[in-house]
């Protein structure tokens, strides 16, 4: 249960940072926190207290191992998260070059 709460907490911090922070780098940090929250949620879905790694050696029963699928998903999502963060930061560098600011309120030439 504590894992789910931690995951929800991380996601909430991420959304908070995305919505209320003005600094774009902090927004990217928020994104990355949110990603970690989702990863934790996925991992805890397959976690069993006291379970072992899903390698079926002698004497390990199927109900004693943790679910390996969420781990594979998280591994994929970690890679995606890294690339998105890297891309976002490099775009922010270019935004800074043009606007000389990291404040997202001032990067607003285009309107509805």
């Amino acid at each position: 249960m504590i894992y789910y709460m931690a995951a929800a907490f991380l996601i909430a911090i991420g959304i908070y940072a995305l919505m209320l922070k003005k600094n774009m780098i902090k927004m990217v940090i928020g994104l990355s926190l949110m990603d970690s929250g989702v990863n934790l949620l996925l991992i805890s879905l397959g976690y069993i207290n006291g379970g072992t790694a899903p390698i079926l050696l002698n004497g390990v029963k199927p109900q004693e191992v943790v679910d390996p699928l969420p781990q594979a998903l998280v591994l994929t999502n970690v890679v995606i998260g890294v690339s998105v963060t890297a891309l976002a930061l490099s775009v922010i560098i270019r935004v800074y070059k043009h606007y000389k600011t990291l404040n997202s309120d001032k990067v607003r030439d285009m309107k509805w």
């Binding site: 990217v28 989702v38 996925l42 699928l69 994929t76 998105v84 891309l87 935004v95 030439d109 285009m110």
Partner: protein, 493 residues
């Protein structure tokens, strides 16, 4: 007949994506030809796939793991039709590229260009929910990077649009993944067909929460109001061919993913459809009425595109076969006609050097061929007879009539939105043909390589308006596939 495994339609572009930069070191002009070759391969493969899938759905198991444990590609008539649409639009955009991407790094552009196609193709073919997420991410990352590609005058706007799109897009994928995690927690499977059969017995609240998360996540990609703040900026800031790709490929794939999740996994959950109907109508009206007050040509087209996506959402949420066929027809028509409009607008802007609509005065005399093509696209989106848009709107309205009194209201709303559409497109067309130009000089028409894709698209717009039966042959089985659900075509499980 030769059978090409659908997996290759992802594998070859991904492989070429890695190959292009290395070959470019030795042979500088290679990226364009390698990318063209890859797209041609996908075009042929998806044509063959469509022919095969009309008889029976093509199922391709990846890595020897049988479903529901492994990942499968499921290509029914609907998926392969969209794969064909994606590869043919990419091919035509490839013809359109040259003058627009001279500046900057060609190698990277072509690499991202075919990755975008691979991602979108994967989105329409995969039969696994997490795999859908991965392909959505490939598509998004490729489109973020392509959007940031603009150099020169548009660069400032492009980077601003990119950062907006990136933040909102990453948020959307996080929501989508939370939805997937919840669904996995509730059912213990990720295979779409398996999910469809297990959802009725799963915890209802958890499933509904997952559905809300997934609709939020994919709604951003599908330009659903109020999640579409990124759209106008992205379309305006992007280089012209990239705008074409957004309108005809990225958004279509995102929209398809959305309706597929709602229809196939949740068995057209009625709650979800009511929500989608309301959001669809809102999207339609917000999009069209914002388009009405734009002075920027590409921005107007972007808002019109939002409006059309709203129309599609409404058509699909009516949930009967006629409306679905109409919705699919509108989807095809929008991909083709809006692609044509963005290409023609790109040529105008390239020649004039401004995106202002008022600069278009008398373009009919200055660039007659491009103007004629633009007009054809505009007429089709408006829904004038003898153009594809007419048939799609008629069929959607016929479908909504089947839905009782509520449907009548929907039909009236669709018609009044079309009226708004008529006003702002006619305003532009009037400027092009009726106004006297301030400067009478002839402008250079686009080169033949750019004219060719526009003429092909215009021909298709006509064909869709005059001979719709040919398209119905594919669209009716596709609509039936949606209504029936994936349950019957699980393959192996």
């Amino acid at each position: 007949m030769v059978n090409i495994d659908p997996t290759l339609m992802i594998g070859i572009p991904l492989f070429m994506g890695f190959l292009i930069p290395s070959v470019a070191i030795v042979w500088k002009n290679s990226p364009r030809y390698l990318a063209g070759f890859t797209i041609l391969f996908n075009l042929i493969a998806s044509t063959l796939l469509l022919i095969r899938s009309l008889n029976a759905p093509v199922i391709s198991v990846l890595g020897g793991w049988q479903p529901p444990y492994g990942i499968v590609f499921v290509a029914g008539p609907l998926g392969s039709m969209l794969a064909l649409l994606i590869s043919s639009m990419t091919m035509l955009t490839w013809f359109y590229l040259p003058p627009h991407i001279k500046e900057g790094n060609e190698t990277k552009f072509y690499m991202l260009f075919i990755l975008l196609m691979a991602g979108a193709t994967g989105m329409v073919l995969t039969g696994d929910l997490f795999n859908l997420f991965v392909f959505t991410e490939i598509t998004s990352i490729a489109s973020f990077s392509l959007l940031a590609y603009s150099r020169g005058k548009d660069e400032k706007e492009a980077v601003e649009a990119t950062i907006k799109y990136m933040i909102i897009g990453s948020l959307s994928s996080a929501f989508f993944l939370i939805g997937i995690a919840l669904l996995y927690g509730a059912t213990g499977t990720l295979n779409m067909a398996d999910l469809a059969s297990k959802i009725p017995s799963a915890n209802h609240n958890l499933v509904m929460m997952a559905l809300a998360m997934i609709i939020t996540g994919l709604g951003i990609e599908a330009e659903m109001f109020p999640l579409n703040g990124w759209t106008p900026d992205a379309y305006t800031g992007a280089t012209h061919p990239v705008s074409v790709m957004f309108a005809s490929v990225v958004v279509k794939a995102g929209f398809f993913a959305l309706i597929r999740v709602v229809f196939l996994i949740f068995g057209a959950a009625t709650e979800a459809l009511q929500i989608l109907m309301i959001f669809g109508l809102l999207t339609l009206f917000v999009g069209e009425s914002s388009a009405l007050r734009q002075t920027d040509l590409k921005r107007m087209l972007a808002y019109s595109s939002i409006g059309q996506m709203g129309l599609l959402l409404v058509a699909f949420s009516l949930n009967n076969q006629t409306a679905l066929v109409g919705g699919l027809y509108a989807m095809l028509n929008h991909a083709i006609a809006k692609g044509l409009l963005f290409m023609a607008a790109g040529s105008f802007i390239f020649a004039l050097g401004t995106r202002d609509i008022s600069a278009l005065n008398g373009m009919g005399k200055r660039m007659p061929v491009t103007s004629a093509l633009f007009t054809i696209g505009a007429f089709s989106i408006m829904g004038l007879p003898f153009f594809g848009g007419f048939i799609s709107k008629i069929v959607i309205i016929a479908g909504s009539m089947q839905a009782g009194t509520e449907g009548m209201l929907v039909a009236i709303l669709i018609l009044s939105a079309s009226l708004i559409e008529l006003v702002y497109f006619l305003r532009v067309v009037h400027r092009i043909w009726m106004r006297e130009p301030e400067d009478d000089s002839r402008l250079k028409e686009a080169p033949f390589t750019q004219m060719f894709p526009m003429i092909v698209l215009a021909a298709f717009v006509f064909l869709m308006g005059i001979y719709p039966q040919a398209f119905f042959k594919v669209l009716i089985p596709a609509a039936q596939e949606l209504l029936r659900g994936l349950g019957t075509m699980i393959g192996g499980a």
